[in-house]
Amino acid sequence: MIINHPLLGPRDSAEFTYMGDAKQIDRPDWQSPNALAQFIDYAYMRDNPAGAHRELWYHEQGDRSFLVVTRDTTTHEIFSVELASDVARIQGRIA
């Protein structure tokens, strides 16, 4: 697979480490009343869809950025690639 890195252009997926569902960005608030249930869900439960899947790829052999890749799990076709920091910024998780 070729991942079209937003900064570095098309790169071989072998340069990346797969880090799972992009929902891992949404770490729950540890102070919320049902934090335990939220963390169990966050850590262990997965949607595991057949079709479009937003997932984290870490450019370990490159610029060490985390990317959010939207990929079809039934065909391996990649629809979009974003910097995970941009995604987190849009969600208001980082300034």
Partner: protein, 321 residues
């Protein structure tokens, strides 16, 4: 193991069960400690295990490269009763056995949903109509997430692709099954002469039933590290299958929170070996509503209770199990 040994007699079907032995190679002192522990665990649980020295391995398998500079072979853990079996024949044998005992096997019939009322599962909707049942048992492998999603369940499982390979036919060169300990590679020879081998998962969520080339290269490098004699052997075919990778590398055989709906899955890529035992334990659960003694720990709630069965200590990274 005894279920495998009696399988062909029980089913009156030639599943080509061949107890040619399996050898896990050791490449470092730390690995020898780990495999000694594994061997002791196997013996304590009534299975066989035999720690072999490099000299004995060299004598029995003279083609192995024991002095590879990077991954020298320091010994091995052998289970002499392990071996190979023809997977198609196992499926066919079980299917015929079940059919003869009165089970209806309905082919080309897709489950499209579960009929659930008041927290109780009454039956399944299929592409060929509704089927009611007192107890509904799900056991699909690979697509567990998709199936249980129809009952609005999320699972501690990701689906990943695992590739397998067959070489061109060779004269008998490989007695038994051999696994490489430093990378991830295992190999045996089929009765037709083809070498059957595989290695790591591709490492990303997939339902595509095909993999990518980096893993092919990695598996073949593993082969070359211990079997330099295979350098000129050509690949005949390769394919990818979908694995239910659970969050701790162990399966789930349990009731769900929905009354009357049962689940068996998350076997990662070790499920085939466990076929008879998995069926045995699942049947016990279905018949008695209580887990079989051997499957007590394979519960849904082990993740929230912190009772994970962690074989490798890699945490909730299904692609690493």
């Amino acid at each position: 193991m005894k279920l495998w040994e009696g399988l062909e007699q029980d089913l009156n079907y030639n599943a080509m069960v061949s107890q040619r032995g399996i050898l896990n190679l050791i490449h470092s002192d730390a690995q020898r400690d780990a495999f000694t522990r594994r061997g002791n665990a196997m013996i304590l649980n009534g299975a066989d295990a035999d720690l072999l020295s490099t000299e004995i391995i060299q004598k029995r398998y003279p083609f192995l490269n024991v002095s590879n500079a990077r991954f020298p072979i320091k010994g091995g853990l052998a289970q002499h009763r392990g071996g190979t079996v023809r997977h198609d024949a196992v499926a066919w044998g079980y299917a015929r056995g079940a059919d003869q005992m009165g089970v209806d096997i309905i082919q080309n019939c897709e489950v499209t949903g579960f009929r659930i009322k008041g927290g109780e599962c009454l039956g399944v909707e299929t592409s060929r109509g509704y089927v009611a049942g007192g107890k509904i048992a799900a056991c699909v492998a690979g697509s567990s997430g998709r199936l249980m999603g129809k009952a609005n369940m999320r699972l501690p499982i990701e689906s990943h692709v695992l590739q397998a390979f067959v070489s061109e036919g060779l004269k008998p060169v490989l007695p038994g099954v051999i696994t490489f300990g430093a990378g991830h590679f295992y190999c045996s020879q089929s009765d037709k002469g083809g070498l059957v081998f595989g290695g790591d998962l591709d490492g990303y969520n997939s339902y595509a039933q095909r993999g990518n080339l980096p893993v092919v290269e990695d598996v073949c490098e593993g082969a070359m590290a211990i079997f330099p004699m295979l350098g000129r052997v050509r690949l005949l075919r390769m394919w990818g299958g979908i694995m239910d990778m659970s969050m701790d590398g162990s399966p789930i055989i349990d009731r769900t929170h929905i009354e009357g709906l049962y689940f068996n899955g998350g076997w990662c890529y070790g499920g085939f070996k466990a076929t008879p035992a998995s069926g045995w334990c699942y049947a016990h659960l279905l018949a008695t509503d209580a887990p079989h003694e051997f499957a007590k720990a394979y519960r849904f709630d082990r993740f929230e209770k912190g009772l994970m069965i962690d074989e490798k200590g890699v945490g909730n990274n299904p692609q690493l199990h």
